[in-house]
C-alpha cells in the first residue's frame, strides 16, 4: 500500500488542477493560517490505529502551480508496523468552489478506478470509490477535501470512516 501513497497524492492534486468551472466562489473563512492544512488535524490515534505525518512535499511541488490546492498533508494510520489506511487533507485556494456539487463531482471523478458513489454517513455526504485494492472515501468540509484510503485487508473500513468523519474537523 505504501507505494500508492505518492500516486494518490499526485492524483488528488492533479484532480483539483483539472477541475473545471470554479467560477466566483464564496469561500468560507479559513480556520488555519493562510493556505495551510493544520498539522494537528489528525488525532494521535484513530480507532486504535496510530497516526503519523508523511512527507508528500515532493509530489505536491510537481503540480502545485496548476492546482486549486494551496496545501496538502498526509498521515498514515498503522496497526503496529502494518499500514492500514492513510488520511489526506487538501486545502483549496480561494478561487475554487468546493461547496458546489459540480466541482466536487469533477474532482472525485478523477480519483479511483470506479465511478464514485455518494453515501450518507451521519450528516456528511461521502464519495466512495476504489483503486489499487483500497477503498477510497472522500468528502468536502469547508474549503478542504478529506480523503481516507483504507487497505483491502482492514476489516473495519466503515467504522474507521465514521470515526474520521466525526473526528477530523479542519
Amino acid at each position: 500500500m505504501a507505494k500508492h501513497f505518492c500516486t494518490l497524492v499526485v492524483m488528488l492534486v492533479f484532480a483539483t488542477a483539472c477541475s473545471p468551472g470554479a467560477g466566483q466562489a464564496r469561500v468560507p473563512s479559513a480556520s488555519a493560517g493562510a493556505g495551510e492544512v493544520r498539522e494537528d488535524l489528525i488525532p494521535a490515534s484513530m480507532l486504535g490505529l496510530d497516526s503519523a505525518p508523511e512527507d508528500v512535499s515532493g509530489p505536491f511541488q510537481e503540480a502545485k502551480d496548476r492546482a486549486y490546492v494551496s496545501s496538502v498533508r498526509m498521515w498514515s494510520l498503522r496497526e503496529a508496523e502494518r499500514l492500514r489506511a492513510t488520511v489526506q487533507v487538501a486545502r483549496f485556494m480561494s478561487d475554487a468552489s468546493p461547496e458546489k456539487r459540480t466541482f466536487q463531482r469533477s474532482v472525485v471523478a478523477q480519483i479511483g478506478q470506479t465511478a464514485p458513489r455518494e453515501r450518507l454517513v451521519g450528516d456528511q455526504v461521502v464519495y466512495v470509490t476504489s483503486a489499487n485494492e483500497q477503498a477510497i472515501f472522500m468528502w468536502f468540509e469547508n474549503i478542504h477535501l478529506i480523503l481516507v484510503s483504507v487497505s483491502a485487508d482492514y476489516l473495519a473500513p466503515r467504522t474507521l470512516l465514521r470515526t474520521a468523519v466525526q473526528e477530523i474537523n479542519p
Binding site: T114, R119, L120, V121, S130, V150, L155, P157, T159, L161
Partner: protein, 362 residues
C-alpha cells in the same frame, strides 16, 4: 347518481390538485428527488406480491451504513436484521418460514442454481443455522454487505442482499426512469385515453373514488408513469431481465423534493392480442431455452398475467432515531461458506480477510 356526482367532483378535485403540482414537479426533477431522498434518513417499506404470497420489508435507514429492517412473509415476521457500519446483526423469529421464503426468492430470480447448495436452508453454515434456530441475535463484525456488491450474487435465504437491495433501491431509479424522451409521463386520469382498467396501479382497489383515495393521492404526491421498452418481436429472451424490459411498468410518486413511492408491476400482455404473437408462440410451442422455461413455470403458478407487484414507500422518520445494536448478540459468521459441490458444509465458515473489501466494481 350520487356516486357519479361524487366521482366527478373527486376527478375535478384531483385534476385541480394535479395541475397545481404539475406546475412544480417535472419528470426531469425525479433524478434529483431520488438523490435527495437517498441522502436522507428515512423510513421505508417494501412489498412484493406474487400469486398468493407477499414479501414485506419494513425498515429504517439512519444513513447508508446504518439501517435496520424486519422481513415478513405473508404477514408473519421471518427475521430481522441490523447493519451498523461493518457489523451485521441477524435474528430469526420464525425458522419454519425460511423454506417458503426461499422458494419465493427463487421465483424472483428464476434461476434455482443461483443459491448454492451447501446443505443448509439459509445458505449459512450448519453451526450458525443452529444458533439462529434459537431465535437469539447473532452478530458478524464483518458481515455487512460490500460496497460494490452485485445484486446477482444472492447466496442464501438469510444473506444480506434481501434488505440491502431495498436500502439501495433509489440508486437505481435514475436508470429505471432512463433518459430517453417520451418514456416518462405524468399520470392524468383526465386524459381522454385514460382507462382505469389499463392502469397498473389503479387509485382504488375497488375502482371507486372515495375520500380515502383523495387523501392518499395527495399524500403521495404527483405520479409519473415510466413505460417499458416497446416490445421487440425479434428479441430472444434468455433471462428474466430480457422479459422485464418489455413488460415491467414503473410509477413514481414525488412530493416536496422526495420520492415518496415507487410501484413496479410485471404484467404480461393479453395472449389474445395478435401484436404479441411472437412473444407467446415460443412459450406455446415449447421452443424456448431453460431460463424462459422457469419463467413459464412461474407464469403457471401465479395463474394470471400480473406476475408480481412491488411497492417502495419512503417517509421522513417520525423523530430523531438511531440504529442501535441489540444486547447479548452472539458472535457468528453470517456469510455463507464457500460451497463445495455435492457436500454440505461441515463446520463454521471462515471470516474472509477481504470480507468487507470495497472491491472494484465488475
Amino acid at each position: 347518481m350520487r356516486r357519479a356526482i361524487a366521482a366527478g367532483f373527486c376527478l375535478l378535485l384531483l385534476a385541480a390538485c394535479g395541475r397545481s403540482q404539475a406546475q412544480s414537479i417535472e419528470p426531469e426533477d425525479l433524478d434529483d428527488f431520488a438523490r435527495n431522498t437517498s441522502l436522507t434518513s428515512r423510513e421505508f417499506s417494501f412489498t412484493r406480491e406474487s400469486g398468493e404470497n407477499r414479501l414485506q420489508i419494513d425498515g429504517y435507514i439512519q444513513d447508508d451504513y446504518r439501517y435496520e429492517a424486519q422481513v415478513l412473509f405473508n404477514g408473519q415476521l421471518v427475521y430481522e436484521e441490523k447493519v451498523i457500519d461493518d457489523t451485521r446483526f441477524l435474528r430469526v423469529e420464525n425458522p419454519p418460514l425460511l423454506e417458503p421464503l426461499r422458494t419465493f426468492r427463487l421465483l424472483e430470480q428464476f434461476t434455482p442454481t443461483t443459491l448454492p447448495q451447501v446443505g443448509t436452508l439459509s445458505g449459512l453454515d450448519l453451526q450458525t443455522e443452529d444458533l439462529l434456530a434459537t431465535k437469539q441475535w447473532a452478530a458478524d463484525p464483518t458481515g455487512a454487505p460490500a460496497e460494490f456488491q452485485s445484486e446477482d450474487a444472492a447466496t442464501g435465504t438469510l444473506d444480506a442482499l434481501e434488505v440491502w437491495k431495498r436500502v439501495r433501491f433509489l440508486e437505481s431509479l435514475p436508470s429505471i426512469i432512463g433518459d430517453e424522451g417520451g418514456r416518462v409521463t405524468e399520470w392524468n386520469p383526465d386524459n381522454a385515453n385514460y382507462l382505469p382498467s389499463k392502469d397498473k396501479f389503479p387509485p382504488n382497489d375497488t375502482g371507486r373514488f372515495s375520500d380515502r383515495f383523495v387523501e392518499k393521492f395527495l399524500e403521495d404526491g404527483v405520479r409519473f408513469d415510466v413505460a417499458p421498452d416497446a416490445f421487440d418481436p425479434t428479441a430472444t429472451p434468455t433471462g428474466l431481465q430480457d422479459i422485464e424490459r418489455f413488460f415491467l411498468y414503473t410509477s413514481v410518486w414525488a412530493k416536496d423534493g422526495w420520492i415518496t413511492r415507487v410501484g413496479r408491476a410485471f404484467e404480461l400482455p393479453d395472449p389474445e392480442d395478435p401484436a404479441y404473437e411472437d412473444f407467446y408462440e415460443p412459450l406455446r410451442s415449447g421452443t424456448i431455452g431453460e431460463p424462459a422455461k422457469e419463467f413459464l413455470s412461474l407464469l403457471k403458478q401465479t395463474r394470471n398475467r400480473r406476475l408480481y407487484t412491488e411497492f417502495y414507500t419512503f417517509r421522513p422518520p417520525a423523530g430523531d432515531r438511531e440504529v442501535v445494536g441489540p444486547e447479548g448478540a452472539v458472535l457468528a459468521v453470517l456469510k455463507p461458506p464457500t460451497p463445495v459441490e455435492g457436500r454440505p458444509s461441515e463446520g463454521p465458515g471462515q471470516v474472509e480477510a477481504t470480507a468487507t473489501v470495497e472491491a472494484p466494481a465488475p
